[in-house]
């Protein structure tokens, strides 16, 4: 069930908490403690806005084990407003044709549908078309 593995990633998974480089202000996600831009230490936590746009996307029909109940699902690379690119599923897509460049926002959802009814639920970020721009 990988309990510790999911547990220690909860901040990143639930809310897109990454890091910011104190030297060059580059925003880092996933966190890696070293700034990919300037190579300095980047350990300050940074809450991403969750806004971004679709960089590329596709649909998975033959899902890997553990993801079958959600298939078919759409997976994308999303360019976050703060810079980094992330891989995540798109959700709530019905009637919405996905396009490269489409604005999306982060939501926290179940990452996989627990086929094991006794197991732990794994929640994490997905992206969906923006509901309303306040």
């Amino acid at each position: 069930m990988d309990i510790p593995r999911h547990w220690r990633l909860k901040k990143q998974r639930y809310a897109l908490v990454g890091e910011v480089c104190g030297h060059c202000d580059t925003k880092v996600f996933p966190p890696r403690d070293i700034c990919p831009a300037c190579g300095e230490e980047a350990k300050t936590l940074y809450q991403f806005s969750g806004r971004g746009e679709v960089y590329s996307y596709t649909t998975v029909y033959e899902a890997p084990a553990g993801f079958e109940e959600g298939a078919p699902y759409t997976i994308a690379m999303v360019r976050l407003a703060e810079g980094p690119l992330v891989t995540a599923q798109l959700t709530d897509l019905e009637e919405k044709r996905v396009e490269i460049g489409m604005p999306v926002e982060m939501v926290t959802r179940k990452l996989r549908n627990a086929t094991d009814e006794r197991g732990m639920l794994v929640y994490g970020y997905k992206f969906r078309p923006v509901v309303a721009v306040p």
Binding site: K10, K11, Q47, E95, T108, R109, L121, V131, A132, P134
Partner: protein
Amino acid sequence: MADMEKLLKPEHPVGIVGYGAYVPRYRLPASEVARIWTDGTGGLPIKEKSVPGLDEDVVTMSVEAARNALLRAGIPPTEIRAVWVGSESHPYAVKPTSTIVAEAIGAVPNTQAADWEFACKAGTEAMVAAMGLVGSGMARYAMAIGMDTAQGRPGDALEYTAGAGGAAFILGLEEDSLAVIEASYSYVTDTPDFWRRADQKYPEHGHRFTGEPAYFHHIVSAAEAVMEATGTKAEDYQYAVFHQPNAKFPQRAGQMLGFMPEQIETGLLVQDIGNTYSGAAIIGLTAILDIAKPGDRILMTSFGSGAGSDSMVIRVTERIDASRGKAPTTQEYITRRTEIDYAQYVRMRGKLTMK
């Protein structure tokens, strides 16, 4: 007990500093349930109900409502000292929804967290408790959520209406509030109108017992008491919102209390999203807050089977105008809509046997 003594009165006046709604995007028309189970004959209690997506549950829905409440409150999540989630469809039987929600919104670790259960009034029960925590001075802010992905046995009357959705509120002191809770009163008895035994998937209900001795008795008793204690009458309110298991019950309760249809229509969402259980009365309140003007007074009365009602007198303040535009409105969630058929519903609600 004298009327004034009945009120639950905090030491310091308390109000709502932020609110947020959530409704999943899928809709099952009641006619679809009728098509499968009654050959399409018979009346329909509502137009359609909301259905959560495959990747949604009370945790994910609560997180979104909580984030909306935070956006409107404009406070750092670390200042929230309680995250309380009322629901009868917590994903875990043991392990709190509230800790996951608190973690996701960044309210941990200096916070209370617990799940509340009182059928459909768990959300307002959490609100009353949050009033106490803030009103006593123990906490500056406390969050109360009512959220459900309600269950109905296939073919049962409840299947037409058992919807999904709810709302989150951040309670704080009067001066920070976009709406002040002027008075609160709760009326509770042991009444077995509806229940779900431990380990059972679907609830049982008392058919006609659901109405008079349960819903109407508790709603009317609670609402009358709070109105008497505050010396208010129906015409003193711009809006009233009641627990809404179907369209008829809240309309009739309103009538019994002297409210006109136009006072209750804004908060009456059941036709479009179904009965959201712990979320039902409070999501109606969010729809009202989305359009109410400073000075407007709202009567909200929940009902939970088993049974009890919480009734609150709420007055909108000047702060509402600056706050409400910071998150999607309840109607925006309602109009974001994808209709599904019964087959898709069966798959999405896990009623399809895979093993």
